[in-house]
Amino acid sequence: MKKVAIVDDEQDILDILKKFFSRKNLFDVDTYVNPQDAIDNIKTNNYDLVLTDIMMPQIDGIELLRQVKEHDKNIEVIMMTAYSTLEKTLESEKLGASDYITKPFVSLRDVQNKIVETLKI
């Protein structure tokens, strides 16, 4: 089964995503509330996809994307953002992000569809 890491500084958002995807059981999900912790684990745990928030304290999603792609450019990264700022989105696109999702999500099913499409499950 493919492995997905979800990174967000809001535990409530991680909880609901984890709960939803656990039921669907289409891929394994680990969640990280601390971006540095996430980067360390992504480097050792062979994730297929990372779903990360952009606005986070200390290390933002763009920096996380950069480090993940530096480590392994085959890891797919999907960005989540509360601000639909073009600047960040375009920067993410340049750095190799596969897709982006705006918050609030259209629906959890939409988030799932994007992950499934990107992973070609």
């Binding site: 809001e10 409530d12 958002i13 601000y83 073009l86 609030p104 999500f105």
Partner: protein, 380 residues
């Protein structure tokens, strides 16, 4: 109303002269106060010293003569003074000059001559007032800008703070509904699912408000750069593709848009704030997508974008949908804030923001209906 910011005090003891002159020049002033002798003139001046800008006075008057009145007035406040008199001997003129009288008009008064003297004397006053109004206007504009910047920062903060809980409220509630749907059919389940619909409507409305606030919080100080406008259109189409692909095909210069389209296939160069102009395209495309959903079938919906050069070297961009057009009642107001064209969604600030950005980029935008659809025309 040539002296319409100026208040004058006119002192003259001869009633005929007083009435005639008042009726001839009184209306040119903001206020034209008339008194019949030097004593009354002085009292009125003291009472109204804050608003009187100029004094016109006769000299030979009972109670207190003109020169004595001027002497007293000078002690209170320096204002331009025009005297009207039949005297013109040197001793008298010498005294008038020593009192700092601005001008002198011979009696009987030639109104044209008085008018010319008034113009000369009042010109610096008018100029000063004009400068003051300009400065006030400038200060007011600065204050407005500062206010909007503060509101912008505040709303950006609030937007983010509300957006996060809204995200997990919406997602958690979606889960709850899946759980509800899994329950065995009952009256309670039916009632709960009905309530869920109401909550969903509420969440949707909050989401729309937040998304409008996000648009307002966008920064506006981006520098202009010479760029390919066709490229900005393609970028906007890519960024809206997640939404548009489920709603309608979009054609650009008659070619169907796909995310693999060459962004520089056509070249139309102009100097603009790139990200803000892209924001305008996104607002218009998103609006069109919302409107196009009036048609039930995907195949009935279509958005056409055309970009071309005009005769006078400008770039014309048209967004034309087939969603039935803008309601005639609001078509003249679509760019005003809080005039949403949509029945339930949005605060109606999108097009207002778009218009502001367009103006800041020295371009024009207008909306009209054509062939059963709305057209937005931008000339850069």
């Amino acid at each position: 109303m040539i002296f319409d910011n100026i208040t004058a005090l006119y002192v003259e003891d001869e009633i005929d002269v007083r009435t005639t002159l008042s009726s001839m020049i009184g209306d040119m002033f903001k206020e034209f106060i008339v008194e019949s002798n030097g004593k009354k003139g002085l009292d009125t001046f003291i009472e109204n010293q804050d608003k009187i800008d100029i004094v016109i006075t006769d000299i030979n008057m009972p109670e207190l003569d003109g020169l004595e009145m001027i002497e007293q007035i000078n002690k209170i406040k320096k204002v331009p003074i025009i005297i009207t008199s039949a005297y013109n001997d040197s001793e008298f003129l010498h005294k008038a000059i020593s009192l700092g009288v601005s001008s002198y008009v011979n009696k009987p008064i030639n109104v044209k001559e008085l008018f010319e003297e008034l113009k000369l004397v009042c010109e610096p006053l008018l100029l000063k007032q004009e400068l003051q109004t300009q400065e006030e206007r400038h200060m007011k504009a600065q204050l407005e800008t500062a206010k909007f910047t503060a509101i912008g920062q505040l709303s950006a903060g609030i937007t983010h703070e509300i957006n996060t809980p809204l995200t997990f409220i919406k997602a958690t509630f979606e889960m709850m509904q899946y759980d509800l749907e899994d329950l065995e059919d009952s009256d309670l389940k039916k009632s709960l699912l009905n309530d869920a619909k109401t909550i969903n409507d509420g969440i949707l409305r909050m989401e729309n408000i937040i998304s409008s606030m996000k648009e307002m919080a966008q920064k506006s100080n981006e520098k202009k750069e010479n760029t390919n406008i066709y490229h900005t259109l393609i970028t906007a189409l890519m960024l809206t593709y997640n939404k548009s692909k489920h709603i309608s095909d979009v054609y650009i210069n008659n070619e169907k848009f796909t995310p693999t389209i060459d962004k520089n296939k056509l070249i139309f160069m102009a100097s603009v704030q790139i990200q803000r102009i892209e924001q305008v395209w996104i607002i218009i495309i998103n609006n069109a997508m919302d409107e196009l959903q009036k048609h039930n079938e995907f195949k009935d919906r279509r958005l056409d974008i055309t970009i071309e050069s005009t005769e006078n070297d400008k770039i014309k961009i048209l967004f034309k949908d087939n969603a039935g057009g803008i309601d005639e009642n609001i078509i003249d107001h679509v760019f005003e804030a809080f005039k949403s064209t949509k029945e339930s969604s949005g605060m109606g600030v999108g097009l207002n923001i778009a218009q502001k950005i367009i103006y800041e980029n020295d371009a024009t935008i207008r909306a009209y209906n054509e062939d059963g659809g709305a057209v937005f025309e931008i000339i850069l």
